[in-house]
Symmetry: C2
Subunit: 478 residues, 2 copies
């Protein structure tokens, strides 16, 4: 592996790697046998960027110019769509050869993604994978994709606890040589029946005195998950404990596999994307923004948008009840958007705070009362501050003559102030409680989107406003 | 390390660990010398939960009952507030002893957090740290906390590239023995001047033939960051490449430190919390929801809320211009909240999509035109769908006699339909472009919150509505 490039001046951003693409294209035409050497020292993630910058029909050719193990690495980093295209463009034999070279978890993921596009092709490739690897892949494919079982790799390091440090280290080195790569920074110890007994980090193994027994070194309190555990739970454990890997065990505590930290980062980002999109009032889109098709975009957005629109229709119904009041006091109309939106804004703050705290497990279902007790005074304080601004706006316009003189303008100001205060308080409370309510009845709390809360508060906000008007203005304006 | 607990039946959730607290409390009173053995096999993250479940004034006592190295581990996992309290409650000497046992990056982080609460105390402790560790800590404290330099640890493994595999492995083992823990799963190679030359994973080192030279094995294309790089950039590299560590180098390419994946996960979650809170229309809060004080909560929320309220005041100004029209056609009033909120909702979808795509670097500043070209037809399609629902709502109410018969109700229906279509289209476009605009002028695109977009669209949406009304209803209702 003599470096073909000087290692300085290297830029770490992806777009720079893509600049290699034109050179590669020329080499593929003129001296394809040299491509492998040219990119020998380039990280597979960067080669994936190169591949994505090539014309689509040349990607398979580029991968074929690399050693199979390298090509498999690159394949792992390609986006789902291009990878499926490439696997469809290659001969079944070649595709199977590449996929066989991947780690078991990536192999299962790739075939799963391909099956979504082209089930038949995925089957054909799977059939051509050598028996042992195929059976392992089939086992992994049987787990839910968003579970610990669906995330785990089966290439982990476990040793009988009876070994000595030196024996264990020999095993680890043999495994490292036999397999291309591994979840090997954590070593698990097992009893004679293959049940998980302990764990130690590779660092601890390297630091240990040579003659020591593994059983004495390993930590016996092992944090494990079941294969059916949700991926969020695995992510939470990894993050809270600072793990590089989490072991997956069956009911008899036999080690099934290991979820590694790189996959966990993927999960965390995926979950976060979902949460942000849901918070924005839409269904989650599981592909990059620019890669999603026009109709995917419409489909994911129109559902919530239409539901919220229908919910918002109730505002018209509420206002209809107050048509007479609106006719005699048009001045009330002017403040409708102001008042309802203040409630929506305070609700949006509260709901995003609570959703995030729930995602980080800082707040649990049973904490709803604690949260309500905080949001009530918070909302009230915020409401009073905004209400005072509202009162001054009305008084100022009258004093400065910025509108036609309004009879009883002081009472109008009071109405606006009371309504803003009430609506902001209600918004904070409703926004903070909606995620709890949704979780309680079995929905994702992140569905309590900013627009959902705003719609809820708009309808109620109007009622609060007209109620305040009726109380304050009865006998004068109304 | 003989296991004091059976390892089965162990639950991985944090709250369960906290159940140990009452037992620990009794042991601290009756047999404090046995506490260390009792919790010998418990993960420090769980011991931190135990500590958090103890009465505040007993936490220092609990930590004192553990060996210093263990106590330092636990200290790392404590929340900032409790940790600062404990470090203030202990003698300076004891606190310095614990902090000295921490990894350099955690030591710097802990002292940084303490200094925010109690600068003097942090100084006192720092002074008591042995010279070498103190100077290292001071070096790390000099970097911005949210930069690569502020995140990195200085406990990494580097070897001269002239060594053989066996020699390098001996060095790694010696280092693992000398230091309590390490960023050691990646081995860096350096030239005689100490400049970074290559990288190889510990797995590759273990798998290599014993006589091979490190220089031939290592990858020369090393992805590095400068110490001033923002933490988001480090997180992005770690995630894209699937790294367990990213090396930090100076301008001469000398290795300064390494950012490890556990810190990166912390960064990703922190950034995500900020983004969600900003998207909800508030300033980011850097402590857990239930830990933040009432006034912190008000301070972080009132700024944006008041700014948005003042922005929203323009809706009253816009409506004032149309007071005459509203007087003669009260029916128009009924649909105001419906129409403006539809724009806010579609804007909220678009802004959260774009903000997330920007955070994941799927979309860059120069892509604004691509995004605009997608959002325009998407918004238009969504607008037409909602517009049709709106038209039917008006027609239905008239046909079913759900309101007083309205003259020219077909034209009112048309006005509502056109306005909804226009407002939703404008909302999608404004919501998707605002993050680009903010980034262009140097602000955080995540400040383009759902409420911010909604306010922007409310004011414009009213103008669109009244314009549509003027066009369609002139000569009939108006």
């Amino acid at each position: 592996m003599t470096p073909p490039h000087p290692s300085d001046g290297r830029d770490a951003t992806h777009s720079v790697a893509a600049l290699l693409a034109p050179d590669i294209l020329v080499m593929l035409d003129e001296e394809p046998e040299n491509v492998a050497l040219e990119v020998e020292e380039v990280h597979p993630a960067d080669l994936a960027d190169v591949a994505e910058a090539l014309p689509k029909e040349r990607v398979a050719e580029f991968l074929s110019a690399l050693p199979a193990a390298r090509a498999a690495d690159v394949l792992e980093y390609l986006n789902d769509e291009l990878r499926s295209d490439v696997l469809e463009a290659m001969s079944t034999r070649q595709a199977a050869e590449l996929v066989t070279q991947m780690t078991p978890d990536d192999r299962a993921d790739v075939l799963e993604a391909l099956a979504e596009e082209n089930e038949e092709r995925a089957e054909e490739i799977l059939e051509q994978i050598p028996r042992e690897a195929r059976e392992e892949t089939e086992r992994l494919l049987a787990y839910e994709p968003y579970s610990a079982g669906g995330l785990m790799t089966t290439e982990f390091v476990s040793v009988p606890e009876a070994l000595t440090v030196e024996e264990a280290l020999q095993r680890v080195r043999a495994m490292a040589r036999a397999e291309r790569r591994e979840a090997m920074y954590t070593v698990y110890t097992t009893d004679e029946a293959g049940r998980l007994r302990g764990v130690l980090s590779l660092r601890e193994l390297l630091a240990a005195p040579e003659g020591a027994r593994i059983a004495d070194l390993a930590w016996s309190e092992v944090v494990t998950v079941a294969p059916t555990a949700e991926q969020e739970e695995v992510a939470r454990l990894t993050s809270n404990y600072g793990f590089v890997a989490v072991p997956v065990v069956d009911a008899e505590r036999r080690l099934l596999g290991v979820v590694t930290v790189d996959d966990v980062i993927g999960v965390i980002e995926e979950e976060q994307t979902e949460d942000v999109q849901k918070l924005g009032g839409m269904e989650a889109i599981d592909e990059p923004y620019l890669a999603a098709s026009f109709w995917t975009m419409i489909r994911k957005r129109v559902g919530w948008l239409a539901a919220l629109f229908v919910g918002e229709l109730f505002t018209a119904t509420v206002m209809q009840q107050f048509e007479d009041e609106l006719k005699v006091a048009v001045v009330l109309t002017l403040f409708i958007p102001l008042i309802v939106s203040s409630g929506g804004n305070s609700g949006s703050q509260a709901t995003s705070l609570v959703i995030r705290a729930m995602a980080l497990q800082e707040v649990r279902l049973r904490d709803w009362w604690k949260v309500a007790r905080r949001e009530l005074p918070t909302g009230l304080t915020l409401g009073v501050i905004l209400g005072v601004i509202g009162v001054f706006r009305v008084l100022l316009w009258e004093w400065l003559g910025l509108w036609r003189p309004q009879p009883h303008y002081q009472l109008v100001a009071l109405t606006v102030g009371i309504a803003v205060m009430g609506v902001v308080t209600f918004g904070s409370l409703a926004g903070s409680m909606l995620p709890f309510l949704l979780r309680r009845i079995g929905f994702d709390p992140a569905s309590a989107s900013a627009p959902f809360v705003a719609t809820l508060v708009d309808v109620t906000g109007l009622a609060i406003y007209f109620l305040a008007a009726a109380l304050v203005l009865r006998g004068t304006l109304l």
